[in-house]
């Protein structure tokens, strides 16, 4: 075990997989000479050279499409989009090609590519640079979606993503790049998709936290325990597609209450999706309506106080959890 920052764990994952498999290569804006906009790819150009670590022009749709084409031809690209915000420019290639090609051509080719990008807000970057699009990506059949919140999970899932033959949307978080955590040593730490992590056990309410909100959920759980005598079970799904719904259902069976917290918008969000599935599959287990805590339904404002009021904090999650216990049937 070593203590690593998330950006280091991600870098190690890529380096290990690139050493292991010649067909894995990386491209993106400023991933090489600049060492990565968020320093995730630091040192990779030095080790692997220009053929395998490619700085690209600012052409998101074409960078992704080029990745798809190269994957169809047998390579395994890792495409870094500087942030989730710029993925909007690449949606045509992501949805109409990466996700659809294996299906619409009846499996004649695969698209084994990983599209990595950090999302989220909280740094006063304003409405066009603060998006959380995990809900949009998880909607699309044909894509896999990873959303790790801890360094060990990030490393294990990124390795799994690179080895996976499906197109993977690998969502990171700008604020989490510096987070430290224990990461298993060695180069074979791989976490399979569809496996949620129960980060805290409890019997009173289930709290599912997405990406950075997984940490917020843990904070809220501590407060709930210390100040309200409510023991929360905290679940980090780690992958949104496939979703380990069974772990969530088992937990709800135990606690009978569910709170889902995410940074994205409420309509059609990750919480909306999970809530629909849980009420469908475990209606009789629920003792209270499912609570969602989400980012505010607005474009993200710049002002520091306004922005922070628009993002979920532990207080909101505590309040939502208590609402499920107080509203118990």
């Amino acid at each position: 075990m070593s203590v690593l920052r998330m950006r280091e764990a991600l870098r190690d994952a890529m380096a290990e997989e690139m050493r292991r498999d010649e067909s894995v290569y990386l491209m993106g804006e400023d991933v090489g000479v600049f060492q990565g906009a968020f320093k995730v790819t630091e040192g990779l150009l030095d080790e692997f050279g220009e053929k395998r670590v490619r700085d690209t022009p600012i052409s998101e749709n074409t960078i992704v499409g080029t990745g798809v084409g190269s994957a169809m031809g047998g390579l395994r690209p890792i495409v870094e989009l500087m942030t989730v915000n710029f993925s909007l420019l690449a949606f045509d290639q992501i949805i109409n090609h990466a996700a659809a090609i294996p299906y619409m051509f009846n499996g004649q080719v695969k698209v084994p590519m990983v599209i990595r990008m950090p999302g989220g807000g909280g740094h006063q970057l304003g409405p066009t640079h603060s998006h959380s699009f995990e809900a949009m990506f998880l909607q699309i059949p044909g894509l896999l979606v990873a959303s790790p919140s801890k360094p060990a999970d990030a490393k294990g899932l990124l390795k799994a993503s690179i080895r996976d033959d499906n197109p993977v949307i690998f969502i990171e978080h700008e604020t989490l790049y510096g987070v430290r955590g224990d990461v298993p040593d060695g180069d074979d730490h791989v976490i399979r998709f569809g496996s949620a992590a129960i980060t805290r056990e409890g019997g009173d309410v289930t709290i599912v936290g997405i990406l950075r909100m997984a940490h917020i959920a843990e904070q809220a759980a501590k407060t709930l325990s210390a100040e309200h005598n409510v023991e929360a079970e905290v679940i980090d799904p780690r992958t949104l597609r496939p979703l380990d719904l069974d772990t969530i259902l088992e937990s709800v069976e135990k606690t009978n209450r569910l709170v889902i917290v995410e940074e994205g918008w409420p309509h059609g969000g990750v919480g909306a999706n999970i809530a629909a599935l849980v009420q469908e599959q475990a209606f009789d287990q629920l003792d209270a309506p499912i609570q969602r805590v989400t980012g505010a339904d607005v474009p993200m404002p710049y002002s520091k106080r306004l922005e922070q009021s628009a993002i979920p904090h532990a207080e909101h999650v505590v309040s939502a959890a208590l609402a499920t216990t107080e509203g118990a049937i």
Binding site: Y25, K51, R54, T56, P57, S59, N61, T62, I63, V64, G65, T66, G67, V68, G69, S70, A71, M72, G73, G74, L75, P77, D92, Q93, N96, H97, I101, P102, Y103, M104, F105, N106, G107, Q108, V109, K110, P112, P141, G142, L144, R163, D164, D165, N166, V190, I191, R192, F193, G194, S195, T239, R241, P242, L243, D244, L245, D246, L277, E280, Q281
Partner: protein, 410 residues
């Protein structure tokens, strides 16, 4: 009236050997007959959706494909039945795809706009205008990466030259010296808009120069002229490792798609271009030079006719895809564990722990059949839908996957 930018009469270019000439002619005639038949089948609602026919563009297609190597890649637009056939795909399977049947090139998943044949390196069939350009860059990147010398030929229309993909891909291809021949099929219209009305620069061969990709014009109605130009540009890509653009001046005699009432061009204009029919012109030349005579010309017509009607018969007999196969190839499953990959909300009862292979039983099957019935009754002799469902035990992979060993991690 626009004229083709050809540099002199086609008689200036010598013919290749007689046998090859006859092959070229027959392939063009096969494509023509196929497209005409596809149009007829569309009228009868046997083919559905959108149907984009390349009637008139045969010389551009065959002139290009006939000089490509087997291991070169070809990627095109949504108007590519002929491109696949020219690369070697059996017309039977193309027709079956248009009919949406099991024996279609993509088992009915893609349709007319998404023909694909990995075996012959016809890499699709794409519905988004310009969307195939980055894919071409990716295929070429693979050749560069692996140090191999196959070339990617990327075909697209005049309309696509205005998309963002065009600018981005030209820059990237030039910057990274990708071995691509960009083949722009200028048929003078982007759907219903004439080139002067959609492009500030109508000399498309020049359009990418500012981005680093030089271009030339070619007579897209002359199969020999196309062969000559494309041969040279394949050589440039293969040996000099840089992209170039070939603008093929051509014309489509039918509308943009089968639903096009063609209000944007005059009948006289179409008639003028009909006089330059690439197939008739080539056949006339072959007759004049003694390579073809009337009886062999007729025999060829009959052969081609028979092949296309065979294809229709084959497609008619091919069964509809089974409803249970709806989720096939959605994901490549291998080392992953269970998890909710896809959910099926078509039936009111919830399925516990679904995977994307939905075993339709009881009410779920009834509802699936009820939905499918809106698409007409299942057609095809022999196999009935549902008979192909194989026994899939819990935990077995849905589709044959090459994705490695089963994961032992719990």
């Amino acid at each position: 009236m626009k004229t083709a930018g050809s540099d002199g009469s086609s008689a200036a270019r010598p013919l290749p050997e007689p046998e090859l000439c006859l092959e070229l002619l027959e392939m063009m005639a096969l494509i023509r007959r196929f497209e005409e038949e596809a149009g007829r089948q569309y009228q009868r609602a046997k083919a559905g959706g959108f149907l984009h026919l390349a009637i008139g563009e045969e010389a551009t297609i065959v002139g290009t494909t006939s000089v490509m190597r087997d291991d070169d890649y070809l990627i095109g637009t949504y108007r590519t039945h002929g491109h696949a056939i020219a690369r070697g795909t059996d017309p039977k399977n193309v027709m079956a795809e248009l009919f949406g049947r099991e024996d279609g090139t993509s088992r009915g998943r893609g349709g007319s706009m998404h023909i694909f044949d990995a075996e012959h390196r016809f890499m699709g069939g794409y519905g988004i205008v310009g969307g195939n350009l980055p894919l071409a860059a990716g295929l070429a990147l693979g050749s560069d990466y692996n140090g191999t010398d196959e070339v990617t030929v990327c075909m697209f229309g005049d309309g696509a030259s205005n998309t963002g993909n065009f600018g981005e891909t030209m820059n990237l291809a030039a910057l990274w010296r990708l071995p691509i021949v960009f083949l722009l099929e200028n048929n003078l219209y982007g759907m219903g808009t004439a080139v002067e009305r959609h492009s500030a620069v109508t000399d498309f061969s020049k359009k990418a120069e500012g981005l680093g990709v030089p271009g030339v014009r070619a007579d897209g109605m002359d199969v020999i002229a196309m062969r000559e130009v494309v041969t040279e540009h394949l050589r440039i890509a293969r040996e000099e490792r840089r992209p170039t653009l070939v603008e093929a001046f051509t014309y489509r005699y039918r509308g943009h798609s089968a639903a096009d009432p063609e209000v944007y061009r005059s009948r006289e204009e179409v008639e003028e271009w009909r006089k330059k029919d690439p197939i008739e012109a080539f056949a006339d030349r072959l007759e004049a030079e003694g390579v073809l005579d009337t009886s062999s010309r007729n025999a060829m017509r009959e052969r081609v006719d028979a092949r296309v009607l065979d294809a229709v018969e084959f497609a008619d007999a091919s069964p509809e895809p089974p409803l249970d196969s709806l989720y096939d190839n959605l994901y490549v499953l291998g080392a992953q564990g269970p998890g909710w990959y896809a959910v099926d909300e078509r039936a009111p009862r919830a399925f516990p722990g679904e995977r994307e292979a939905v075993h339709l039983e009881g009410q779920a099957r009834e509802l699936a059949e009820a939905g499918a019935a809106y698409g007409g009754q299942a057609a095809g002799a022999g196999r009935k839908p549902g008979e192909e469902v194989s026994d899939r035990d819990e935990g077995e992979a849905v589709e044959d996957s090459e994705a490695g060993e089963p994961d032992e991690e719990s």
